[in-house]
Amino acid sequence: MLDFIIRRLIAIIPVLTVVAVFVFLMLRLTPGDPAAVIAGDNATSDQIADIRNKLGLDEPIWTQFVIWIGNILQGNFGESFFFKKTVAELIAQRVEPTLALAICTLVIAVAVAVPMGVLAAYRHGSLVDRFVMGFSVMGFSVPVFVIGYCLIYVFAIELGWLPVQGYVRIGVNFWGFLERMVLPSVTLAVVFVALIARMTRASVLEVLNEDYIRTARAKGLSNRVVLMRHALRNAAVPILTVIGLGIAGLIGGAVVTESVYGLPGLGRLTVEAVLSRDFPTIQTVILLFSVVYVVINLLIDISYTLFDPRIRY
């Protein structure tokens, strides 16, 4: 197992190298000049050129790349072109809302979707099953921002139960944090509930036809025990895989959800950085997302062993 983890961690290095080269080149090949953005709309060409020189953007691309990689290797992610802050500081400021949103969303999604999927499989062909399948189709089909606006209209504008927007840090005011997390998390969870419920239903349904389930029932075990201990546990591997893959979708969804609810997280930081061509910030955030994605999938792979003892690394 330890060998496996070390090998996987080492495998992160080429992945990150490819991501770094790709992101760096894509940004330089994309039209847009950060110096022109910084200078403002009324700036002259000379003013823009001065700023380009100050930022080192008039150096050849390979020189810029070597400097950037050199700094990264020393743990220096650079300074944002726009904010008088290091990229590390910016990310530290923005990571909490995104992390909170991701955790709340995953908790809601798993807590709702897994029982829904199991129930749908157990009551295969019934109204409950059709409702779950219908909900799944809707969850996939309706864009996140539409769900967000609908929830805001009902729960914030009409009923006035929850705030429209904003974020309160968990350490400042716990209730303020909770009330501002409900709508964004539910909004983002809808698509994951749909995804996980569907996968759970399919996996459990497959397992329910297995001989060992029939044996368990023949032994006189209750439905609950059959479903939870025998069926769900054996169906867990594909469900975990879907959750792992869903992390990538969560990052994309967070960008939209953070915009709709005015959450100052990494998703919005990414959008702002892209729109203003803040190269150091975009590069670092994308690298961070890559690390998170690889590490979470590693954790998911490790967790397979908890559910299926046949899996060994």
Binding site: P31, G32, D33, A36, V37, I38, A39, G40, D41, N42, A43, T44, S45, D46, Q47, I48, D50, I51, N53, K54, F82, F83, K84, K85, L90, Q93, R94, Y149, I152, Y153, A156, I157, L159, G160, W161, L162, P163, V164, Q165, G166, Y167, V168, V172, N173, W175, G176, L178, E179, E258, S259, V260, Y261, G262, P264, R268, L269, E272, L275, S276, R277
Partner: protein, 528 residues
Amino acid sequence: MFDFRKSAAAIVAAASLGGLLGAVPAGAQTLNVVMHSDLKILDPIWTTAYIVRNHGYLVWDTLFSMDDKLEVKPQMLEKFDVSGDKLTYTFTLRDGLEWHDGKPVTSEDCIASIKRWGAKDSMGQALLARVTDMKAVNAKTFTMTLKEPYGLVLQSLGKPSSNVPFMMPARVAATDPNTQIKAEDVIGSGPFIFKLDEWKPGEKTVYVKNPKYKPRSEPASGLAGGKVVKVDRVEWRVLGDHQTTVNALLAGEIDMIESPPHDLLPVLAKDKNVKLFNANPLGNQYTFRFNVLHKPFDNAKVRQAVLYALNQKDFLDAVIGDPKWYKECKAMFICGTPLQTFKGWEDKLNSNFEKSKALLKEAGYDGTPIVLMQSTDLAVLTNLAPVAKNLLEKGGLKVDMQSMDWQTLVSRRSKKDPLDKGGWSAFLTSWVAADVLNPVMAGFFNAGCDKAMFGWPCDETIQKLRNDYATETDAAKQKAIAEAVQVRVTEYPTHVHLGQWYSPFALRNTVSGNIEAPVTVFWNVTKK
């Protein structure tokens, strides 16, 4: 029975109170505002971005300011004198001016600030090119000596929009003009203090009332007069999404939106707790900019054809919609200003396609398509280019409209490459009216070839007239020169003005006292 609504309301109230107590002093009057953009850069001399200019007006003060009649009035100054030969200006600072760190404002600070601003701003450069010396007479008085009389000394120092000559402490103003000042050096003598420790880009920017600020005794008028602060804190909140911002105002979570999108104004107007207030009666001006370097716009006659093909109403209808928020105006220096004149443009901007085609024929136009850049991500600009394409094609031009986001356009417009190598022929943008009040201030009139703004017009007549305007000290003669510039632009078109439009504030009814000015400011504003 459990009443979820009441319980939720109680939880919300407790949470809100908790949040309030945790964040700001009890009883503090906080104005929560969503501005048109997030504040990312702090130095208003380093960039011309309007959001940084607005930030500048809160933190720093100016020697002169423009009032609501567009007259320049002393602001930090107690008095100023001009020598009989109009070559020496003597400025005397008001008593009791202090930086936010408690040190007094001195003549040396002002001289250093003017030098830094003058190295970056086009009007500042024009002024400093004529200054032979600036000297501190004492801590409160300094002189500026010119080599020739210059008619725009006060207009330059009282320039309302980017780059504004804000006064900074000498040690801060000593920063290289092409380097941004440090965040901890955002120290002014203005009516608000910037809270660096609460500045979270992408989330909020906080200003608190400067308790030591000494406002002028005159009532506030435009950007001039007494800057009396009536709230404890101003928080610029960043919500990002327009619909969310409007929802937050309707729900009372914020107090003001600086520039709500025009398509959502009817929603706001319907709500009885919200009011719309046009704080900038001069508004903004849409503009079609030519690039004169490449065919066919290198030919002035082809550009003249454009003046006949276009009309203002189609643009304004397509973008703004409600005539309440726009005005057709053929005056290049803005309707309602001292330099308003329609001379030269009476028969233009009427979509006279026959005349346009006749001029193209006369010019020998060979059908070379123009590359028209369209910005697709800013609602106030997106629909302009399709309207232009339609009108220009009706007027006989071939148009290759290329769509891109605004930042790509901003980057591309500074390139002089030929059309087949990523170059461009024209694009559309918008100016704040306060930036185009005269031919020296308005950047698109600069026809100084390589020294001009992107588009690079090159015309000695316009340059001479602009210089004449700058050196003339008589207002009536200045107006005549401005009129001549406007006429000359119909012969050698540098750009086309496409009408004025207005962007009202959306305010909760609890907010009042907003000042009519070309820049959004927060003194005189109260919140019940």
